[in-house]
Symmetry: C2
Subunit: 323 residues, 2 copies
């Protein structure tokens, strides 16, 4: 996957972008905006003074402040980069201070509940266009971000029915400027699709790592030592930010419970096949899954390198390797 973002814009899309929350996503946005010249200026807003300090030290923004209300005043785009549970309370604080014709957006992994929590606090002259870039790593904080995080990833926009199209298009241009591909969806559909492609996988990963840590028959040091057998793969997403993910599950309850129900049903079938020695059911289930990975690789959403490229089989010193 190429990591090149291309040429920066000659004329920025926005005068001043306000980023609220300078974690992995917010700080990646700041870096990307600067690098691609998407705005004349950036205001970085974070309630945590230590984060503000790092943002200043890393020179990621033109203005750095802990005060959201004053910080958003002269911005024509404001993006909430906080856990979804914090979006409503923040909207209440900044709503009265947003300038006319300002675009307000977010990056939350859940959309319906964010819309419900944010909209009541916004004046009519603000354009609220929710967004969700499907990108991330297991690291958090302003030091974890990087400008290419969104490159070749999907960003889902869920504009309301009465959106001003030129504003939605402007936000689309912004995300495409960061290298993302933009997809339109309703908030409800977004929440259903992401429940299976993101929320359920995180829940399962958190759960299996927790189960392994709690066993009394196998020690934690054995689990760690022999984790290369498959377990370690799950620890990556189970190392994701706990606050962010608590809020995701609290705010997408219905879709997650539906997907979890399917998962548990299917697992019961495999459990029964193991108990009764039904090799055919196991083999058939295990055979269907290779094709899906191949499609993900073909669509450029995954590397084809063995083991995620964690180690290089293209061992230059081994003449027998013909890859």
């Amino acid at each position: 996957m190429p990591d090149q973002l291309g040429t920066p814009l000659q004329t920025p899309l926005f005068q001043r972008v306000g980023l609220i929350g300078l974690g992995l996503i917010g700080s990646s946005l700041a870096r990307g905006i600067k690098r691609m010249n998407l705005a004349h200026a950036i205001t970085a807003i974070d309630a945590d003074p230590h984060v503000c300090e790092r943002v200043s030290a890393l020179n990621m923004a033109d203005t750095v402040t802990q005060d959201a209300a004053s910080g958003v005043k002269d911005c024509d785009l404001v993006i909430l980069c906080v856990p979804v549970g914090a979006c409503g309370p923040l909207a209440k604080i900044i709503g009265p201070h947003l300038q006319p014709d300002c675009i307000l957006s977010d990056v939350g992994s859940v959309k319906s509940s964010v819309v419900q929590a944010v909209e009541p606090h916004l004046p009519d002259h603000v354009h609220f266009i929710p967004a969700h870039p499907v990108a991330g790593t297991e690291y958090s904080g302003p030091d974890a971000g990087f400008s290419t995080l969104f490159h070749n990833r999907w960003c889902i926009l869920t504009p309301p029915d009465n959106v001003v199209q030129s504003k939605a298009d402007l936000l689309k241009d912004f995300w495409e400027g960061l290298g993302a591909n933009v997809e339109w969806m309703t908030a409800q559909r977004h929440d259903l699709v992401l429940a299976v492609t993101s929320h359920l996988p995180h829940l399962i990963a958190y759960n299996i790592v927790g189960t392994a840590a709690d066993l009394e028959t196998v020690t934690q040091s054995e689990v760690i030592k022999f984790s290369a057998g498959g377990f370690r793969d799950f620890t990556r997403i189970a190392a994701s930010d706990p606050t962010m993910w608590r809020d995701v599950f609290l705010n997408n309850k219905q879709a997650v419970l539906e997907m979890l129900g399917r998962f548990t049903e299917d697992l019961a079938l495999l459990q029964r096949a193991i108990r009764w020695g039904d090799g055919e059911t196991l083999f058939n289930t295990f055979t269907r899954t290779r094709a899906i990975r191949r499609s993900i690789i073909d669509l450029g959403q995954e590397t084809a390198a063995p083991d995620f490229g964690r180690r290089s089989p293209d061992d230059q010193t081994d003449p027998s390797v013909k890859r």
Copy 2:
């Protein structure tokens, strides 16, 4: 993680190693043995003529044959690199042809059932020492192997109580020659530990990929498109060899069902927390899991690079990145 295997041996440990099954593991062994000079000669044995053809073309062995009985005759080490369900039938075929004092080993992911299936077919003059290198990728076949696959990975040996220690030590030297760290364990303990670090994770991954593929409310193309949200991680181990994994579950039934029971119990707790909006339980569960990944990284069993290093945040062209 360094990929260097060090200096090849001056004097090989074995006269001739017979490898039965030239898939990912068998072909990695062949490449490693040659590279590190662990044997004077290699006999590659595979029932599949196409595999034999590839092994010859890749020049991985001195002798290539489809006939296991004659192939093992002059070997002082024979390693079964086949799905665990095939070990018993193979032992029956080769048992009468193994030379006196020969070491017979395997690489199976399950140990107790392999011992039960293999031992009855062996003459007294053969030393059967089961082994399991905890290493692999999601690819299969003779082209997928590489000489450094076992480097810095654990290889678990489960010798019987009456083992001739010098023979067990020789097998230990062999695996260490391939760069592996050797651990001793009983077959029963192995099966319990690997049930949680390898077998359960594979079952869960196969299951979630299957669940996602079967949904009628979300299309398969949506699942593939937005898989970077977490789902794609699971597709890697769910792309593993179906025959190998069918046999694992059929042959480690008790331990897998026990671990699966724990997993399901814990998942019910999270499900309840989501349903009742219990953010504290979710947050506490999600907080404990970061430390485990850190330990795995510290022990050299995982990369610290974000996202498994799939993309490089150390973006040289981005001056704001300070990593």
